[in-house]
Symmetry: C2
Subunit: 692 residues, 2 copies
């Protein structure tokens, strides 16, 4: 593990190309460092000035002391390569380049030069094409972020890493507006060297961080995500990701079914769920989750988790119940004691169930009694009050709300506040006052429910995946199949129909006939599969028909022969595949197979290594799972044998870098005790795709 402490908490910062004009991008960082009280050494590098704003300048990078932790390179693109090289030679530990004009503008070669310098010299780089970094607790402002002209977010426990500088900046605006605490923010830009995942790794080992919030457009070394997410959970930290680009991530060009089904967005969603990562759909949701963690911390597994709601609209109560069900949040029933206390305040026609609708039937005293009653109910961990000026005097309510939030925290509980209408919110100062008292304040009840529900998900028990067993790297396709011990149906491959009939006689009818060709990956489409052949005459007829249809479908295809298999009855056909996701690396796919593979798209992806438990959970999450477990009075199938075979295959694929794609389609899962057997196998070695 690399240590990014000198990057994130530098004792000395060089500002290469610092400008004395604080209105220019290159002038801002120095102004910010002074304004926000950075206590380390600052070294502007500028040959034209002896000092800027009272800080002595170095005339060149070579003139810098040799122990600089961080160099912020403020030069335009054409000067960056040389500056980074000089920094490396001068012993600078880490650098940031803000300049655009690299890979994002088509100049990948220039960017490769930066990567090469990092690899050769050991200097570490953030950017290029980024906005820099911010560490509020230490006044570290190695950034030209425009928002720092307004204010610095207060120090906190949320680490924020964004691949977009402008969106990061907009999130800083929100941190300031919401009074949300920030551990540090890094804008990673083009990630020529350091990417978000390396920063995640650092944050996992930082005691000051409780939530790691990411805005991601694409992951480099994405295969590390699963392991990092597990380490984060083990360390009691949550990761929340806003990922953009679902409308752009298309299906991969691939030979196997698995590859074709591997629309990268689906792989991303499945693997994020496997890893226990929280995912959100937009910036506000990201901020809502961050706010819930900032105020309430990492969720404890002790104590009441339920939500109690006080509203003045029964209709909104139903909408809140709907939203809570969506995120798996419980609205527990109140105890008899709670109900009796509410009944003493509310008129007889009003229900005293959760959510409670007080309508307009309570005065201030009655309302506060209802709120305190619900807060004290043992099943309630968070009390949500839905306010409206139509019924409440916000100014009069505010001191009481602050007290109530303090009372809640003293009990290990929480107060949340939203409004009947998002046009009827508290003013910003009053809101921040209430937030300082520890209350979660969001414009709508749905957002409160989403934030609390997602925070609670972080603590949900997710059995950890074991690491996979070792497997030797294979050589040929045959080696691969042998080492993975794929259970294959007995099969003979023949060039003439008489030999095929003899094989069928020996093994027994009915049989299946399939074409075997290195140039035909999808036999069914080619008319190259005949099922349920009852006798020799039928086999001869099927053979003749298949020769014709295959010739029509793929006239150029080389035909190895025709395979004869016993026709196995009973059970259910799965598809099992392995492929390499461009971002997440080696992945396993399991799903409904045979004709259903393409029709239902009922599949789950797992990043590798995946444990037998994870494979079992993936199978159980399929729509067709009831069939595996014995639907409609059918016998249950041999799922454990299927899991064992899939796990062996996945381990071998994880180890064997000579194989690019594998399909078992179908893997027939037979009745309990009879195992699972692959009826067809496709193995695609690296860089030798079959043609059709």
């Amino acid at each position: 593990m690399s240590d990014l402490t000198r990057l994130l908490r530098p004792a000395s910062i060089a500002l290469v190309g610092a400008s004395p004009d604080a209105t220019k991008l290159a002038g801002r960082p120095l102004a910010y460092l002074k304004r926000y009280g950075y206590q380390g050494r600052i070294h502007p590098v500028n040959p034209k000035h002896a000092a800027i704003d009272g800080v002595a300048c170095s005339p060149s990078i070579q003139a810098l002391p040799r122990d600089i932790d961080l160099a912020l390179i403020l030069l335009p693109a054409h000067g960056v390569v040389q500056a980074l090289e000089e920094c490396a030679q001068q012993g600078v530990a880490t650098a940031i380049s803000i300049a655009g004009g690299f890979a994002e503008a088509g100049a990948a070669d220039e960017q490769h030069k930066l990567t090469a310098i990092c690899q050769r010299t050991g200097i570490r780089l953030v950017g290029p094409n980024c906005v820099g970094l911010l560490h509020p607790a230490h006044g570290i402002t190695a950034t030209f972020s425009s928002e720092l002209k307004n204010a610095m977010p207060r120090p906190g426990k949320v680490a924020l890493f964004t691949q977009s500088g402008a969106l990061g900046n907009s999130l800083l605006q929100s941190f300031n507006d919401l009074g949300l605490g920030l551990a540090y923010w890094v804008s990673t830009g083009n990630e020529a060297d350091i990417g978000v995942l390396e920063l995640v790794e650092h944050a996992i080992s930082d005691d000051g961080v409780e939530l790691i919030a990411l805005y991601v457009e694409g992951l480099k070394q994405g295969h590390r995500l699963l392991d990092l997410a597990r380490r984060a959970r083990a360390a009691g930290k949550a990761i929340v990701v806003l990922r953009s680009g679902r409308s752009q991530l298309g299906r991969a060009a691939a030979v196997s079914h698995t590859g074709k089904l591997a629309g990268a967005w689906k792989v991303w969603c499945d693997v994020a769920a496997q890893a226990g990562i929280l995912t959100v759909d937009n910036l506000d949701q990201l901020l809502d989750v961050a706010t819930a963690f900032d105020l309430f911390g990492y969720p404890s597994r002790d104590g009441a988790a339920g939500l109690g709601v006080l509203t003045i609209s029964g209709g909104l109560g139903v909408l809140i119940s709907d939203a809570a069900a969506d995120v798996g949040l419980e609205l527990p029933a109140f105890t008899a004691q709670t109900q009796a206390a509410l009944r003493s305040v509310l008129p007889p026609q009003m229900s005293v169930a959760n959510p409670v609708d007080t309508a307009l039937f309570t005065d201030e005293k009655g309302y506060s009694l209802c709120a305190e009653t619900v807060l004290h109910d043992p099943a309630i961990g968070t009390l949500l009050l839905v306010l409206t000026r139509l019924a409440h005097d916000y100014t009069a309510l505010l001191p009481w709300l602050e007290r109530l939030s303090g009372e809640a925290r003293a009990m290990g509980k929480r107060l949340a506040v939203s409004y009947l209408s998002s046009s009827d919110t508290l003013g910003a100062p009053e809101r921040r006052q209430l937030v300082r008292a520890g209350a979660l304040v969001l414009p709508t009840a749905e957002r409160v429910v989403g934030a609390i529900g997602r925070r609670a998900m972080a603590a949900r028990v997710l059995p950890a995946g074991e690491s996979a067993g070792a497997a030797a790297a294979g050589g040929t396709v045959e080696d691969f199949l042998a080492q993975a011990r794929v259970p294959l149906v007995s099969e003979g491959v023949f060039g003439d129909v008489a030999a095929a009939c003899a094989f069928a006689d020996t093994h027994g009818y009915p049989v299946v006939l399939k074409v075997v060709s290195p140039d035909i990956a999808h036999k069914s489409e080619a008319g190259g599969v005949a099922l349920n052949i009852a006798d020799a005459a039928a086999l001869q007829a099927a053979w003749a028909r298949m020769q014709q249809s295959v010739a029509a479908y793929a006239p150029q295809a080389r035909i190895t022969g025709y395979a004869v298999q016993p026709m196995l009855r009973g059970g259910f056909e799965l598809i099992v595949g392995c492929s390499v996701d461009p971002e997440l690396g080696r992945v396993l796919m399991v799903g409904a197979g045979g004709i259903w593979a393409e029709v239902l798209d009922d599949v789950r992806f797992l990043a590798l290594p995946a444990s037998p438990d994870e494979i079992t959970r993936a199978l159980d999450s399929l729509r067709v799972a009831p069939i595996l477990r014995g639907a409609r009075g059918q016998a249950p199938l041999d799922v454990s044998a299927a899991v064992a075979a899939i796990h062996r295959l996945a381990c071998q694929f994880h180890a064997d870098t000579g194989v690019a794609e594998v399909d078992l389609n179908p893997l027939l899962v037979r009745p309990h005790g009879q195992g699972a057997v692959a009826l067809d196998v496709l193995v695609v070695p690296v860089s030798s795709p079959p043609k059709e």
Copy 2:
């Protein structure tokens, strides 16, 4: 069709129980009528006062003139029945009762008395347990709505009907805050007489209405929804619905598969889609759609529909593309001319594709040039500008934005504005100023995209369903099947196995054996289905096994006999069902049948009557549709025969009120030209459910 004009635009209003204390609920309506300039006659009814605030009182309802259009009954529950009766006797046309304490509080009998008075006398009633109604264009404030203490929404083209009074009130707050125009609002409460759908019907025929917005908790006479939605579309009006309760609407207790699959929420979603109704998930989405209609009107089918986006963050551009794809909104490519004009402003490393990221590279002049360039692109109908104070001076921008919106409208185009951060919005007065200039202003770009996308959906061509053919109402189950001309597989039912074997010999093996019992609805679970029986010996063995398993499963079941059918091969099994939804009335269900019926839950519901086109579209929207149309080189199936059979069944079910549920499971769709045949049929007459 009833005419609700005297309710919604009364020339005279009686206030029964009006209070001289304007701070009390019963005192507010008079104060509001005077404040907001109602021009009709006002008649407070109060024996204790000669006049209230200068308006002469009637001492009793009997003392009112005989031509009152609307009586607002402000009395508590115990006085309402008598007051409504007196109003009816006095010739009052319509009434509103605000009192709670009826069906919602367990007093259904009292509420029935109100319904009975309406039915007997012809007086029409809104409520009880409601907040009243509001018609801003005419100063009609027959309501105690607290929001009217603040302001009256401006007159507009959005009709709002809400079953929750408090949520309606909160929407009024938002209408005021957003400067949104309101045609009228009715809070319908318990709907003892007039429900939301009757109000929808009135609004469809009102030229002043373009959008009908509903908050609904449950529909009475929901079977009218489909017809009303079609009439609305024909009249160039859209309907948008926020429906609560998806977490509470469970599965119906039913005998047939159809009934069991009919979770009312799924039925609701399918029928709303069938009708072309816009659905939203929360109050803000409802307001966003209303705002888009208020500003931009009903979407024209002419003119450019595409969205052009100017942002300062490439990351947000990707998020906007994602959101647009979700609602089917196009971000068209720019013309070469547009791209060249953008290129002249932006530096070479920046892309000039839609969405355009200007980053921080433009000054005010360059930015306005980019905006005007995109606005003039022929493919662009709406220009979205994403603002941020980090780059823009909002105060300086405002006059230009107003001009730009005017320029857009002059071209038949539109301007929309949102922000990089929802913490960085325009202030409320500036926002309203921009809205008055015709721009759509929402806090996030996702909300702009959602509002514009949903508005565009309203104009999407949806082939109208034909009305169904007439069908005679049947008597017995046999009559029903005969009149629906259900194509049934040939079948014999036998009490002894020898007769069964004789039938099988005649019709040919393989055959299927099934138990026949009025007490067993689900044969598979009972072990009462054996497939693919090859010969007489196998039939005898299956017969014996089935007797045992059926006896074990349902020892008390009366066994009519055992049915023998030829085993048909090839094709795909659908499930087709008819049932009565408690809200939406007679519905048809089509989906994947046989074992897949329960596993996949791949079904679509249609409200009846449904046309053959609608049935075809429903089948084509199933996940298994590729199999019907010929997946993986298989022959296409006889879908048109299946549609014809399903349509006949649906017509008959629509007409025959003696039948409560029907299942064809499976309806085997055979290869093209070979028709469709039901292999099993269950018909449940009204109120005689079979037991198990």
